[in-house]
Structure formats: C-alpha cells, structure tokens
Amino acid sequence: MQDQRSNRAGKSFSGRALAYVLMAVVTALWGAPILWMLVTSIKPESEIYAYPPAWIPDAPTLDAYGALFQRFPMLTWFRNSAVVGILTTVLTLAVDALAAYPLARMQFPGRRVIMGVIFATFLLPYELLFVPLFLGLNSYGLVDSIFSLTVPASANAFGVFLLTQFFQAVPRELEDAAIMDGCSRFGFFWRILLPLTKPGLATVAIFTFVASWNNFFWPLIATNSDETRTLPVGLATLVGGAGMSMKQSVLMASAVVATLPTAIFFLALQRHFVRGIAATGIKG
C-alpha cells in the first residue's frame, strides 16, 4: 500500500491523489447510509417510496419529528437513557479503574487467575445470563429500577482490560517516588495515575456510554413501563407489530434522534480517544 508518513521525502503526487480518491470513496460508502437516514426523516410520507430514490426531498418537512415527540414519551425515554448512561459510565469507570490499578501495577497471589477469568467473560454470551439475572433481581424487588439497569452492566471486562493497558504504561519511578514521599497507594492512584491516563479514561467512558445508550435486550427484560424504559426499548414500539406497516419517516426520525446524543458525545471526546488508543501502545 501507500507510504505511511507523507512527510517522507519524495511522496508522489499520484500517490496523494489516489489517497484522496480512496478517501472520497470511503466517505461516500460509510456516510451514505447515515445521510439517507437524515434525508428520509425529513421527507413527507408520499415521497418515501418515490423511484428513482431522491437524495433531496421536494417538500422537506419536520412532521415526522413532530409526530414522534407528540405521540411518544420521547423525553421520558431520553431522560431514562441519559440517567442510566451517565450512572453506568461513572460507576464503570470507578470500579474498573480501581480494579485495573492492582492488576496493572501490583504483584499478588491470584493475579493471573483473576486476569484469566476476566478475559473469559469476554467470551460469555450475555443472553445466557438474562434469566438467572432477572429472577435474581426480581426476588429483591429490583426489577423496573435504575439499579438493575446500571449496576449489572458495570462489571464488564472491556474497561478493566483497557485501563490495565493504560496503567501499565505509567513509569514505575513515578510511583516509587510518590510512595517514598509518603503518598498512600490510593493517593498515587487518585492524584497521579488517573490524571496521567485521561485518554484511557475517556476511551472507556465513550465505549461504556455508547454501549449503555444502545443496550436493548437487557432493558427490554428489566423494565416494565414507559416510565422506566430506555430509548431503544421505547423506540422498538414504534415499529407496528403484527405487520402494521411502519412509517419510514418517523422511524428514521427516531433513529436520528436516538443517535444524536452518542454522536455528539463521541465527537466531543474523540480527540482524547484516538490519542488514547495510541498511547496504550498495543504492542508486544
């Protein structure tokens, strides 16, 4: 393929041109479906099935969005998803960071076993756990609560694994110096380690928030009413069951609305994010 560093002497014009063409193709392929989603959401129902398909609506309208917010408790679902998302992210970050510190930087018996077990949960099909988890939570009366939407999701392996990588990259000398200065382990963790690994924390935050926001099957089982539903579960009821044909414009409007928060969240944090993954040095 191409040169990796374009500041290398002698990068050819045709090489750059080819790169730009490829970038345009990629943008078209990846961006087109999203654009189609946006465009459909502002088309009046009569234009949806026009053929040939039109990229620019003749009579754009925000009716679909209006219908969406008028007929469905969108704000309630939004609120629930936001609360659950934020709580889950905070809890996950806290718990995972605390756990990653010893796994990354301490020697203790059982370390290997714990790492292995955590890795094994990567392989776990979560659908296997739904029924025992539901019945267990139910016996404590915790179904239909914020607790069951946030806490079970926080024990996820991905965050621990990723943060372990980040924490390992911080030099030993810093820790030794801090400890010799009388800093407690927690002090080092809180005042030195965490600030140094912000990109890693940002990365875990993004992935956790997105996963929580988009989580469908567990909230479906764990919530019983519109008051406690999250957005994906609520939006699923837009699709008329039993073959009642759906209004594409409303569906796509709901898709746009549902995607907006996570898209914004990602765009805001993405600088940290890519720098973050780079800093893990996912190498040998």
Partner: protein, 436 residues
C-alpha cells in the same frame, strides 16, 4: 372571646391544613393521574406502532378521567416480547393485571396457568357476551370456562389499487369473486417493460412474515381441507392443502403474476411503492393506506375453492393469575367499559368489533373508514381461526425458522417441490404437536 375563637379556629384550620398536607403528600406517592382512592390496573398490549398506541392511550385516558375509580396504566410491546415478558414476569410474581392478546394464544397461556378463568368477573361486571357470535365465544373458552373478553375480529381482506385497475381496463366496482376472475385480474394487472421484465406484479405474495401463510390457510379451508386432523396431528399434506399451496406456487411460476421476493412488512411497502396492484391483508392497513392517500378499495376475499373461507384472528383481554383477587373488581370495570366502547379504538387500529351492538353502532359505521371496513364485516360469517392449541407459539410464530415457516418459504421460493415441502412440514409439526 373573639380572639380565643380566632385562635381555636386557626388551630383547627392548622390541623386541617396538616391533614390536607398529609393526604396531598400521600396522593403524590400514588401513580400519576390517580386519585388517592383509585385502584391501579396495569395493562400490557401488543398494539405498537404510532397510531395504535396513540389510539389505545387516548381511549384509556378517557376511561381514567371518567371517575370510575380505576386507573389503567398501559404498556405496549411487540407481540413476541409481550409473551416472553408476560411469562417471565409471572414467574417472578409480577404479572400485569390485564393483557390484550389474541385468542390463538389463549390455550397456551391457560395451560401454563398464566391466566385465570373469568366467569365470575364477567358476571359481576355485567359484560354482555350474548352480543358476540358463537365463534367469538368459543374462541375465548377453554376447558369449558371463559378466560377472556372477546374484543374484535380481523380477517383477511382484498385490497386493490383502483388507479391500476382502471388503467388495465377493468371495473373497480366489480372486484373478482372467484379464482378464475382473480387470475384474470392478476394477469391484466401484471405489467412488463419492453425487454419482458416485470415492472409491476398483479399480486403480492411475500415470502417473509405471515401473509403467505394466512392466504394458504384460507385456500386450504376453501378447498375443503383442515390444518389438523381429528387426532390433533398435522394434516398439511392432505390433497386440499397441497392443491392450495400448488395454486399459489403456480401464481409465481406458471402465471408469473407474483413474486415472493417482492413485498413483506419490514420497511418495504410494495403496495405503496406501486410494485403490486393487489394484496390480501387484514383491516389494519386501511388507515395507513388512507394516510398515504392511495386510491384503493377493499373487497371480500375471492373464493378459489368450493366454499368461502377467510383466515382471521381475534384480540381478547384476559386477567393474569395473581396471588390474590384484590384487583378483580377493577379489572372487570375496565374490561366491560372497553368492550362497550370499542368502536373508537377499533376504527383507529383497523379491526372489526366482535360485539354486534358495537359493530352496528353509529360510532363504528359512521366513520370515514367504514366504507373500507364493510367488506371485512361482510366476510365475518366465513372466518376460520388457526387451531387453538397449547403449542400455538412454537408452532405458529412467524419470522422464526419453525417447520411451518421454513417449509412454506422453501415451497414458494422453489427450493422444494410442494409435496416434499408439505411432507417435511408435517414431520416437523407433528414433532412439535406431540410435545404437548
């Protein structure tokens, strides 16, 4: 003394104020929209989709505000999820009070003891089942007891695009009534372009979801067959059943008037996008077609066989088995009210009320939609239900690779010849039916 009186009064007033405050605080802890004395009833249903949910919620809102002392809290799920959640919640002792579902699922939920007989509720609430035709009452009866309130019927109907019909030189006021007439229409309505490629099919027979199965079911009974034999095993390989399926396959391969890859229900709307001219589907699409401003009309299902038969299903409302009978009276109050005031939700959702009184009331017949509903009403004497068996969900679920679905798809797509497909289907079905 005046001052003492004032003091006494103000003390009383303060105590009253405290009482008011306390009850206001208590009222605040009750569910939204409820009076402190209102009984709360949870209702789960499968009427999802923007219009249906709005219709149902609107009706329930009217009830809640009507001072009956009962507040109903509805939650909608898509049907598959509804049934899963219902059973899982029942296992956890948190079943919803009332559920709106289909009579075809009733035997399964009665057998699993998720619902309870409601003869007592019917009697005490004054629900009048005499208005419901025999088939409707049989549908909600299991083991000799009434288990649910029958609400509506939704049979298959015949939708056709009036513009396309006129273009083809046919008379939209005289829709086909027999198989031969239907075939003639289908052929004339199938349009090809210069190179011989079909640009529009006369008829929609999609290979996904349930439409094809319902049509085959209707034809099977029209040709004199039944789905189950008298031993309760599958009779899908009978002559009548094969004839029915072969007829549909011939529509695809011999007459070229339809294509199983066209249409369906997940976002492709072949009728609206003008890829087909005719379709058989239930009354629930009437409102959608009106909203899409299509020039369409409905008619009774043509009779392809010896006698008319039209697939139908019905919604009903049942009471979950609960540890005690506290909510029973409240359940009954809502059930009766809903049954009597069914015209409005029926019209918006697109279903035909079971109760003769409701069906013939001005509230139902005076609507814009009624001219489209009329042909469905006319077909009510001809309806056939799928077998009401306890294994209903595993046998008849659609959009899952059950023996019924995969073999029907194989026959329509041509992967298997009709006799082989039906034989394989029978084997698979019998295995499921024997599980009991």
């Amino acid at each position: 003394m005046a001052n003492d009186d004032v003091l006494a009064k103000s003390l009383v007033t303060r105590r009253q104020a405290l009482a008011l405050g306390a009850s206001a605080a208590l009222a605040g802890t009750f569910p939204r929209g409820a009076f402190a004395a209102d009984e709360k009833v949870t209702l789960w249903h499968g009427w999802t989709g923007a219009d249906n949910t709005t219709a149902l919620n609107g009706v329930i809102d009217t009830f809640n505000k009507g001072g009956k002392g009962v507040t109903v809290e509805p939650t909608g799920y898509d049907w598959d999820t509804l049934f899963s959640k219902w059973v899982v919640s029942a296992a956890g002792g948190r079943a919803p009070d009332l559920v709106l579902f289909h009579i075809t699922e009733l035997p399964e939920f009665a057998t699993r003891k998720v619902i309870r007989p409601i003869d007592d509720v019917v009697a005490s609430s004054g629900l009048d089942l005499s208005q419901v035709p025999d088939a409707g009452r049989t549908g909600v009866t299991f083991d000799g007891k009434v288990y649910a309130a029958p609400l509506d019927v939704h049979p298959l109907g015949f939708y056709y695009n009036v513009d396309m019909v006129q273009e083809a030189g046919l008379d939209p006021a005289k829709p086909p009534k027999t198989g031969e007439e239907f075939l003639e229409w289908a052929k004339k309505l199938t349009v090809k372009d210069g190179s011989g490629k079909v640009t529009r099919y006369g008829f929609e027979l999609p290979n996904t979801w349930a439409t094809a199965r319902w049509i085959w079911f209707s034809l099977m009974y029209q040709f004199g067959g039944t789905f189950l034999d008298d031993k309760g095993l599958a009779a899908v390989d009978s002559e009548a059943s094969q004839k029915a399926l072969q007829y549909l396959v011939d529509l695809i391969n011999v007459h070229g008037v339809t294509n199983p890859e066209v249409g369906g229900n997940k976002g492709e709307d072949a009728f609206a996008s003008k890829q087909v001219a005719m379709k058989f589907i239930g009354p629930w699409e009437v409102n959608l077609r009106m909203a899409q401003k299509m020039n369409f009309m409905t008619a009774q299902l043509p009779v392809f066989g010896a006698k008319p038969a039209v697939w139908a299903n019905s919604h009903c409302m049942a009471v979950s088995k609960q540890p005690n009978d506290d909510k029973l009276a409240a359940d009954g109050t809502f059930m009766k009210w809903f049954f009597d005031n069914f015209a409005a939700p029926a019209t918006t959702v697109g279903i035909i009320p079971q109760s003769k009184a409701v069906r013939e009331s001005a509230a139902f017949t005076g609507t814009e939609q009624y001219k489209y509903f009329k042909s469905f009403v006319d077909d009510l004497p001809n309806i056939v239900y799928e077998p009401l068996i306890p294994q209903y969900l595993s046998v008849f679920s659609f959009d899952k690779p059950t023996p019924l679905v995969t073999n029907l798809q194989a026959a329509l797509s041509g992967s298997k010849p009709v006799p082989d497909a039906l034989k394989a289907m029978k084997e698979g079905l019998d295995a499921q039916l024997k599980k009991g």
